[in-house]
Structure formats: structure tokens, C-alpha cells
Symmetry: none
Subunit: 316 residues, 2 copies
DNA sequence: TTTGCTCATGGGCAATTACTCAACCGTAAG
DNA sequence: CTTACGGTTGAGTAATTGCCCATGAGCAAA
């Protein structure tokens, strides 16, 4: 009781201070005196509210330039939905902006009243987006993971986003109790034949909407950084024309899935049908340009959330 | 074309600047140089984005709703201070939450360094609040009771809170050595003329801040339960339009003190001026709704601590 | 009880932001 | 051509905010 109530009491104070500051527009001095604390403490509470992600900021204006780019990209590649966020010239964090936009889009789907199946892939950008989600209750929806949640070392993979999502969203969650890569095509068959896995795979195939991160290849790409592939395996893949991956499925610059030993070992569910559902890819930045272009060219995805920089590249 | 596109172009710029500022977290200087404008112009664009409500800020915490309600109630009734605590739909205890909030507010006043006079009324809620107070030493302050401390049967009234307060707070205390109700207006005159009573009454009139419980009428209300009024007296009062009481002072649904024999026998000090001091009423729950609405409507109080349920009722 | 550690606090200061004011630009009316 | 006006700009300045640091309270281990 003591420790708990004190901690949450502090968060309550942070929320109150943050509200007074951002919503009511008071200065930190006013907040301090009205809450009976020092200005510095008020400042700390406000920044705590930000750090704890209690404060959500969203921009409610279609910036003309981004809208035009989005239209052009949608038409050129025949996508169902495109969101472009402004590029941040100063650069920096790879998920600034795009995470908020993706969160807004996820939220839009979750707020539907008709029950939906929402599938999620993996990736740092998607994780950042999910972290932006507010608390939502949507008990009618089901959320299913396309990718396994077990890393090469046997631990739960950090960037498996479905668990982060479960923190914020009250809906039924279906993780995929598999490694991301298995040792052989035969092992994959065996594992996928299990009843529990089978039903999750079936559900993912019925997804109404899917959010996936788009990963670039290279020794700095997620597959290597997270230890799924060795450096030399990666080099060989790239020599064979691989440029990107979604949920571990590796594709070439045409967006065709490669017919190689790695893809035979990917235990992820297939990317849901682009005919019957909306599959939204998320990614931005120079390093992902080629992968994104390939994904939209080969129709691995039919929706895209990215930034101006990538959008302009897609239009060249 | 010229005027229109320039205006919307300006809004676009504002949106972009606002995005860079709030979402990307860049400084106005950085925004200025990246957009090729002066720092002042960047600042203007950011504030324009706020003024045009392009920037939506949301606080993702249960307390946000309470703060919104508090603001609305404060504005609607012209109150100086409003605190709203979350309603606890499940639990029944009438003092859950509100007591802690009231205690925090009392503490805030007691921590002031300038000497103040703090007046207290009576009531179960106020008692519960005072029980939440930590030990404080504030020898510069004076605490004065508005109500008598003698019950109808001659015992010390349990819900006279000043004695509970004395347990926790080291400050000079001034109880009111009177019954709550006397037998006639004449007796009240006589008692109030006593030197000791006189000086306490004078002090209460100078209160900087006052905390009072708001009591509902009815045969289950405090005046009946504690034996101050008989059932038939209560029925008659209610027939005459009485809906609530503060320190025994009975008022109608407009918040006007009733001109009746009961009020002539109330020995409590008058409620301190709402012009010169802060008078904070405390109460929550369905049964007190009418009384609370009357009290704020008739400006018997200019501050309020209550719960969401009552706040919503006050706004209808 | 002492010691060492963590963490919240408030003071102080530098960075950042908001506001005021005079000047300026383009336009339209006289 | 002049004048008045609405709106914008940059400079300057006051207000506000972010951050570092010394301090002290609280607490657990010795």
C-alpha cells in the first residue's frame, strides 16, 4: 500500500501538472503555487509526465506537401493507403514522427466498432509506434502476431511488439510461440502443424489489417543486429539480390520473396493477403529506401507510412 | 489564388513548425534555420499552430477527466478552486478519495509560511480528511472552529473536527464552547455575547480559508442521525424547501439561508465572507448532490472538493 | 548506531521562449 | 501621387523553462 500508493501518487501529480501545463496552459510557476510545491518540482513533474508518455501530442493538419506526396505515391504504386510525415532535417532518431503517425493509424483501426483481426509484425519502428498508443479497451478485436517471439538465444525477442501492445490495449492477444528462424523447412512444418500454432496462423490469414515494419538488409540491419543471421549469411543474401525483409521474409529489389534456404526457415506467418486485407508497412530513412521501394513494387504491402524523404525517392 | 494560397500556405508552415517543435522536439532556433526563416517567425508559426488548434494535446491518465470537470465546474459557478476526485463506482464508503484530496488541500494551506487563520466546520467527510493529515508544526497559524462542540445530549460532539485536528497539527486551536443548536434566538444572543465566544467569533470572521462539510437533509442526514433535529422537524424543513446545511445553517435549493426558527437557533459562527476568504465545501455522493448544487449556486461556498459524479450533475 | 546509498528538493544559472514595439511592405482608397 | 491601413518582420527585452549541483531526508546493510 505504502510504496504503491506513493508511486502512483507521484504519477497522479505528474498527470495533474502535465495537464495544467499542456492543456490548461499554465506556467510552471502557477502550477507550483497551486500544487504547493517548488517551481523545480513542478518542472520535474511536467517532464515526468512527458517521460512516462502521459502526454500525447498530435498534429491535426494535413501538410499540403505531405498530402501531395502521399497521393502521388499511392497512385504510382497502387497502394490503398499512404501516410507521409514531414522529414526532420536535423535527422536523429529513426522513429521520430513516424511512430506517432503509425500509432494514430493503429488507433483508428482499433476504434472501429465492428470486430476486426489486427495482425502485427515486428521491428523497432513498430515497437515505437505501439509505445505511443493510449490505453484503449476494445474487447471485440483480436490482435495476432505474425512473428515468433523467441530470439536466437532462446529469450523472448524484445522487438516482438504484441506484448507491448498488450500493455496498452485491452483486447485478446495471440502471440506466436515459435522462434523467428528455425533450423530447417522440415522443423517449420512440424511446428506449424501444432494445433495452437495452426489456429494462430489461420487467424493471421484472416487479418483485416496488418502493421509490419520494413527492415533493410546489411550488417547493420535488424536481422544481423538482433543475431538472427551471421554476417556472412547476410553478405551472401545480398549478393543474391536481397534488399529487404518483412517479418523475416526476405525479398529482392522487385519485391519478390527469394527462393533460398533462409526463407525456408522463416517461421513467421505468411504476410496476409494483399487482396483481402490492408497491409501497412512502416519505415523511413535513407537506409530503408531500397527495401521500401521493393516492398511496394512487389506488392508485399498495400499501405505505407513513411516520410517525405522516402516518398520523394519512391517518385523518382 | 494569391490570398487564399498564401493563407493556407502559412497554415501549412505553421503545421510543419508545430510538428517539428512538439513532435520532433526541436528548438525554435533549429526550426528557423531549417525552414529558412528567423527565430521570431518560427515562434510565431508555432504559436499560430497552437492558436489554430492544429496541435492536439491529450493526457492519457484517469485524472485528466477530473481536471476537465474541475475546470468546467469552476467556470460555471464562478468558484475560486475546485478539486474533483475520481468516483469509485464499486465501493460504498462515502469518504474514499475525497478525504485524501481534502487533506492534501488543508496541508497545502498549513504549509504556507505567512500566518493564516484556518476555520473548520463539521461533518463526517471533514473528519475523515483531518484524520488523513500528517503531523505538521505550524505555530504561526490559528485554527478556529465555526461550530459548537456540544451535542444535544451534553457530550462533546464526535464530529467536531477541531479536536481531531489538534492531534496532528501543532497550532493554536480555538474551539467553540457552545452547543450546536440552542433553544432560542435570545439564548444565542446571550451566549454569543460572552467575551470568550465573542473573540472566537471575531477570529472566525477573519478566516483566510475555511473548510466545511456540506450536509444533506433527510431523516438519514447528519442533523437527524446525530440527534440535532427530530424527524418531524426535518420533514417540516424539507417541506419548506430546505435541501442542505453547512455548519447547521440550512439553505434552500437556491442556496439562500432559510428564514425559519431552526436557523435562528443555530449557534455556529456565520460562514466566513466569500468575498474576502476561500470557503471550501467538501462532499460527494448522490445523496448530497442537491445540497452541493444549492451551496455553489447560492455562493455559500466559493471552493469545492467533490467527485466526478457530483461534478457531472453540477454541469447538467 | 553508523555507514553508505538513493533520491527528492530547492537554489542558481544558462538556454529557450513569449511579448512589445517600431519599422516596413504591399494594397487600396482618396 | 499621397495616405491610410492591415499585416508581417526583426530587434530587444522580459518571462519562462531546463539543467546542474549541493544538500538533506529516508532507508537498508553492516
Amino acid at each position: 500500500m505504502v510504496k504503491k500508493s506513493e508511486t502512483s501518487g507521484r504519477l497522479d501529480d505528474a498527470a495533474r501538472a502535465g495537464w495544467l501545463y499542456y492543456v490548461a496552459g499554465r506556467t510552471q510557476d502557477e502550477i507550483a503555487s497551486s500544487m504547493g510545491i517548488s517551481r523545480q518540482s513542478a518542472q520535474r513533474l511536467v517532464s515526468l509526465a512527458v517521460a512516462e508518455r502521459l502526454i500525447k501530442v498530435r498534429l491535426d493538419h494535413p501538410i499540403a506537401a505531405c498530402l501531395e506526396l502521399a497521393n502521388a505515391v499511392r497512385n504510382k504504386y497502387g497502394l490503398r493507403q499512404v501516410d507521409i510525415v514531414p522529414s526532420d532535417p536535423g535527422a536523429g532518431a529513426a522513429t521520430v514522427g513516424i511512430a506517432e503517425a503509425a500509432a494514430a493509424e493503429i488507433e483508428r483501426w482499433l476504434k472501429k466498432t465492428d470486430p476486426i483481426v489486427l495482425a502485427v509484425g515486428t521491428g523497432r519502428t513498430l515497437k515505437a509506434a505501439v509505445d505511443q498508443l493510449p490505453a484503449i479497451e476494445c474487447i471485440n478485436h483480436r490482435i495476432v502476431s505474425l512473428t515468433g517471439n523467441i530470439a536466437p538465444d532462446g529469450s523472448a525477442a524484445y522487438y516482438n511488439v504484441i506484448f507491448s501492445m498488450a500493455d496498452a490495449v485491452k483486447a485478446r492477444h495471440f502471440p506466436m510461440p515459435l522462434p523467428v528462424l528455425v533450423t530447417s523447412a522440415e522443423e517449420r512444418e512440424t511446428l506449424h502443424a501444432q494445433q495452437l500454432v495452426r489456429s494462430t496462423l489461420d487467424m493471421s490469414a484472416q487479418a483485416d489489417v496488418t502493421f509490419v515494419g520494413i527492415g533493410e538488409l546489411g550488417i547493420d540491419g535488424p536481422l544481423c543486429v538482433d543475431g538472427f543471421l551471421e554476417k556472412d549469411e547476410m553478405m551472401e543474401l545480398m549478393d543474391n539480390g536481397a534488399v529487404g525483409e518483412i517479418c523475416g521474409w526476405i525479398f529482392d529489389s522487385e519485391g519478390k520473396l527469394l527462393d533460398n534456404p533462409i526463407n525456408e526457415r522463416v517461421a513467421s506467418a505468411p504476410i496476409p493477403s494483399r487482396e483481402t486485407s490492408v497491409v501497412i508497412g512502416i519505415g523511413k530513412g535513407k537506409r530503408k529506401m531500397k527495401a521500401i521501394k521493393a516492398a511496394v513494387t512487389g506488392h508485399q504491402i498495400n499501405g505505407l507510412i513513411t516520410d517525405e524523404e522516402v516518398a520523394e525517392y519512391l517518385l523518382t
